[in-house]
């Protein structure tokens, strides 16, 4: 599911239909009700932070793009798979803080352990791939790809190892969110504690 295309549903606003001015006490009239995070449900109007939601909406894609930039630039400046993965993960943390119990799974339909597994697989396959060409494992090579208009694009194969690290780190952060974020939250609800 592409999160950007899904229409925001506002089933969280009130189970008994959209509140009308008559049914709402006057001090709640100006509480914001429109969901700002794209696929997320509208959280409790008393608890939501509109400023954070709007900022997150603007920042989330930007941070993700920035993380990809960090990933690619790692070979030439500060960055690399580890930092890039953390940046992308923090983008999801921001979403979680703004959107609340909206499961990060709503944004990323892939489950975190799968993401981690894919990352580790990519890294290990990158490590083993040179053996197919008769070179020792983990050998890196420079691929030069001619790209129209841009000229030649140089890719060092160790970038794929970095991609693996990136995916794994994103998966780890999402797993952390799942376990310590929504997991503990569910735990607290289950235990009947105030949330």
């Amino acid at each position: 599911m592409n999160p950007l295309l899904s229409s925001p549903d506002d089933d969280g606003a009130a189970p008994s239909g959209r509140p009308t001015p008559e049914s709402t006490p006057f001090e709640s009239w100006d509480l914001p009700r429109t969901p700002w995070l794209l696929p997320g449900r509208c959280r409790n109007p008393r608890r939501r932070t509109l400023l954070l939601e709007v900022t997150s909406r603007a920042l989330f894609p930007t941070i993700l793009v920035f993380s990809v930039y960090l990933l690619c630039v790692g070979h030439y400046g500060p960055g690399g798979g580890f930092s890039a993965g953390l940046v992308a993960g923090l983008a999801f943390v921001l979403r979680y803080l703004a959107g609340g119990s909206t499961d990060p799974g709503a944004v990323v339909t892939i489950r975190p352990p799968v993401l981690m597994g894919v990352g580790l697989t990519v890294a290990v396959l990158t490590a083993l791939a040179p053996a197919l060409f008769g070179a020792p494992v983990l050998t890196s090579a420079k691929l030069v790809v001619p790209v129209p208009l841009l000229g030649k694009l140089e890719i060092v194969t160790s970038l794929f190892l970095d991609v693996g690290v990136y995916l794994l780190i994103v998966g780890v952060v999402l797993d952390l969110l799942r376990a310590l974020g929504s997991g503990i939250e569910r735990d607290m609800r289950g235990a009947g504690e105030a949330t």
């Binding site: 790692g74 030439y76 798979g81 975190p112 352990p113 990352g119 310590l180 009947g192 504690e193």
Partner: protein, 816 residues
């Protein structure tokens, strides 16, 4: 390279065999029998070369580590291949008739038996100690799986675990011995080691220790005293499995190893004394215990233990005739023990029991099986003209020819052991087929030809080779050629049915007469056997060892895992202070360094220090977490000042993430550390440990940072190589993804495991709680009730627990 191809083909076919078995179990076994047959044909086709020069093949496995897969087909290996592949193929054919079409174990057994045939073939052909060890352990694993079957019966499970524990224990000890021997000899090639030993190049303490360790492996695998109980217990496996693994092939691995190394090392007392003494003791005790069994399979199992002892003596003695006799007995034992097991399986199939007290009067109804069993048992007892007789004659001759005290003592013991062999051979025949007074004839339904033919062929093999003994003699002479003849008798000795009247023939006759008398008189003698002290039994010792290990583990775990975080922390900190701390105090020196070298370092250091000091005084968890964050960001700032942007970036990101993680967890914790004031009695030691540990870590950091006396050459090389070697302008990145890429892969694997572990721990808890709660309160759980009532949101979050503000609740929003 044909050898490795054959072994691999076994394993590959074993992997795909379930596809065949799923359509037809019988077809599965039939397909499985093809490869062992091919292996046998291959070996026999190369027999001429094998007996003269030997067929060798080597494949480099990891040349950098000096590891190679080496194989060699020689006389001894040829004899073992006949047993492993020849009898293996016959037993797989037998399985076609034995396992029912609906048997749930058939599919797995077919694949595992074939895999076992492959690894056993690899074991007997291996010419490298480490290759041999690899296959050795694989046979233990397949044996474990075959004995354990589906793991549903307690008997199977305990037998499988016992077999695995004993043989793998021996295997690991043996590995130590292999490494010591390989390092002492300078090569791991078995043929080279044996040649070195024959030239007198092996000696010294290391070799002695190595041989003792290797013997432990051989003795456990071949179920010698005091490790023998696992073999009778393993009879919980289906009969064809017992016939193949625990009679014909796997248990011979220990004997094989002794036979393989003896030509080089048999002169060493540490080698032949334990082998001969334990072998003779095992032969006697195995025979004695066999007489006392009522289950035909257990009777045969103790018989196998006894015969393995005999083989150990023959191969360990280190003389020419004993070696000749060993080869003959090795073949004879496979050819008579396998059909005896197979006949037991036929009897079991036909009557539903193998208890000698219930079986009666089978002779008229099962003549074919009875004749097969009689031929095999006669070979076991040593009756001419069977191969067992030929081998045993040579065995007596071997020790009589020594003509010294050792030879006479061993001969006497061998005769005593043979008496038991004859006795339990007779007992087997009597127990399976004779009509017993007072027992009604057992009803029988006839066995199929697929059951009787393989058994018959095996037994026939014993007869044919007994008459055509020059064939065996050719193989045995080739093996025994490793021992120089010390006398004309030894030099001229050949296997034969008739050596003339002499002491060996007398010994055989005495064993036959006494053995038969023992069987006849067992009802009187056996009463003496009933009172074996349990305290001395090897099975009891095994149980004590395993149970004791478990008890110690429970006690140690109980002490170490106290379940208190402060206790764990104290243990860790005290260790840190005691071990690395002492090392730094003794060996470190305070470096002569400037306090700071950039003005910006001062405010950052002051900020971090102040935050750290404040941390000690705060009472709220959330404040403490924030202060830890301040310290972390301060350190990150220092990285920037020192020109390490990569490090600083990672530090900031990790610091942020851990702050978030802390806040998440803090939601579940009280907002303050402790509610009541702590007593000084506990406070003072804690404070002391913390101060010492903290000071130690800080001091160590300073000392270590000044420990490098010369500029690091590695860093310079990294910087030089990064642009063209790794194609990276950023040397940090080049190190992470190229120079030290293996470290990176390892680290992300650790991260993966840690993340999965944390997630499992956190996500698993609510399920536990839900289950407990369900038990306490029945259908309506309190948490669920609260949600229904909607009472949860009524309470204000506790002041200061900032985490709660982040958490929305789905059911509080409609409250008016």
């Amino acid at each position: 390279m044909c050898v490795l191809g054959l072994v691999v083909a076994h394993l590959v076919l074993a992997c795909v065999l379930p596809l065949v078995s799923a359509r037809s179990r019988r077809a599965g076994f039939a397909v499985a029998a093809v490869l062992p047959t091919a292996a046998l044909i291959w070996a026999l086709a190369h027999a001429r070369e094998a007996l003269t020069t030997g067929v060798s093949a080597t494949l480099d496995w990891a040349p950098e580590l000096g590891l190679s897969l080496s194989f060699r087909l020689d006389a001894l290996a040829l004899a073992m291949v006949v047993l492993v592949s020849g009898i293996g193929a016959l037993i797989l054919v037998y399985c076609i008739g034995y396992f029912g079409e609906s048997s749930p174990d058939g599919t797995r057994s077919a694949a595992l038996l074939l895999a076992f045939a492959g690894v056993m073939l690899g074991l007997v052909l291996a010419d490298d100690l480490l290759t041999l060890y690899l296959f050795w352990e694989l046979t233990s694993v397949t044996s474990f799986l075959l004995v354990g079957q589906s793991g549903e019966a307690r008997e199977n499970r305990s037998a499988a675990v016992q077999a695995l524990l004993v043989t793998v224990f021996g295997g690991l000890v043996m590995l130590l011995g292999f490494i010591l021997l390989g390092e002492a000899a300078g090569t791991y090639r078995i043929s080279e080691i044996v040649a070195l030993g024959q030239a007198g190049g092996l000696g010294g303490g290391t070799v002695t220790a190595a041989l003792a360790l290797i013997l432990v492996g051989a003795l456990t695998k071949s179920a010698q005293l005091p490790f023998h109980p696992w073999l009778p217990a393993a009879m919980a496996a289906p009969t064809p499995v017992s016939a193949y693994l625990h009679a014909a092939s796997m248990v011979k691995a220990g004997v094989y190893l002794v036979a393989r190394l003896s030509p080089g090392v048999a002169d060493a007392a540490v080698w032949w004394v334990p082998v001969v003494v334990l072998g003779l003791a095992t032969m006697a005790i195995g025979g004695w215990r066999a007489m006392a069994q009522h289950d035909l399979k257990r009777l045969l199992a103790f018989g196998t233990v006894s015969q393995l002892g005999f083989l150990m003596v023959l191969f360990g003695a280190g003389t020419r005739i004993a070696a000749i006799s060993g080869i003959a007995m090795l073949l004879a034992h496979g050819l008579f023990k396998a059909p005896l097991f197979l006949v037991t399986g036929i009897v079991d199939h036909a009557t539903g029991t193998r208890d000698v007290r219930k079986l009666s009067g089978l002779w008229p109804s099962m003549r074919g099986s009875a004749i097969i069993a009689a031929a095999a048992a006669a070979s076991m007892a040593g009756l001419p003209p069977l191969l067992g007789f030929v081998g045993k004659e040579a065995g007596f001759e071997a020790f009589l020819a020594e003509d010294d005290l050792r030879g006479r003592l061993v001969t006497l013991a061998l005769v005593a052991g043979s008496v038991f062999t004859v006795a339990y051979s007779a007992r087997f025949l009597w127990g399976a087929f004779a009509r017993k007074p007072g027992v009604a004839d057992t009803p029988v339904h006839g066995p199929g030809p697929l059951l009787t033919w393989p058994a018959g062929l095996c037994a026939l093999g014993g007869l044919v080779l007994g008459i055509a003994n020059p064939v065996v003699d050719a193989d045995a002479q080739s093996y025994a050629g490793a021992y120089p003849a010390t006398s004309p008798v030894e030099a001229g000795y050949h296997l034969a049915l008739w050596h003339g009247l002499g002491l060996p023939l007398l010994a055989s006759a005495v064993a036959l007469v006494l053995g038969y008398s023992l069987h006849r008189g067992w009802s009187r003698v056996g009463r003496l056997a009933g009172h074996f002290p349990r305290a001395l039994s090897a099975q009891h010792a095994y149980e004590i060892a395993v149970g004791g290990t478990e008890r110690v583990a429970t006690a140690v775990t109980g002490r170490l895992q106290a379940g208190s975080v402060p206790t764990y922390l104290v243990v860790i900190l005290v260790t840190v202070v005691a071990l690395p701390g002492t090392a730094v105090l003794v060996g470190g020196s305070w470096p002569d360094q400037p306090i700071y070298h950039a003005p910006l370092q001062l405010p950052l250091a002051v900020l971090a220090t102040l935050a750290a000091l404040a941390l000690v005084r705060v009472r709220r968890r959330f404040t403490a977490v924030l202060l830890v964050g301040v310290v972390g960001y301060g350190v990150g700032g220092l990285f920037i000042v020192d020109g390490a942007p990569d490090l600083a970036l990672a530090q900031f990101l990790v610091e942020t993430l851990s702050l978030v993680a802390f806040v998440f967890v803090l939601r579940r914790m009280p907002s303050r550390f402790t509610l009541e004031r702590q007593r000084a009695r506990t406070q003072v030691p804690k404070a002391l440990i913390s101060v010492v540990a903290g000071g130690m870590v800080a001091g160590t950091a300073v000392v270590l940072s000044g420990a490098r006396q010369v500029p690091a050459t590695t860093s310079a090389e990294f910087i030089r190589l990064a642009p063209e070697g790794a194609g990276a302008l950023n040397v940090i990145s080049a190190i992470i993804v190229d120079f030290r890429a293996l470290d990176t892969v390892g680290e992300i694997t650790v991260l993966f495991v840690a993340a999965v572990g944390v997630a499992s721990l956190v996500l698993a808890t609510p399920y536990d709680r839900r289950r407990r709660r369900g038990k306490e309160s029945g259908a309506g759980s309190p948490g669920h009730e609260a949600e229904v009532i909607g009472d949860v949101a009524g309470e204000e979050p506790p002041e200061g627990s900032a985490g709660t503000a982040l958490v929305p609740s789905e059911h509080e929003e409609v409250r008016p």
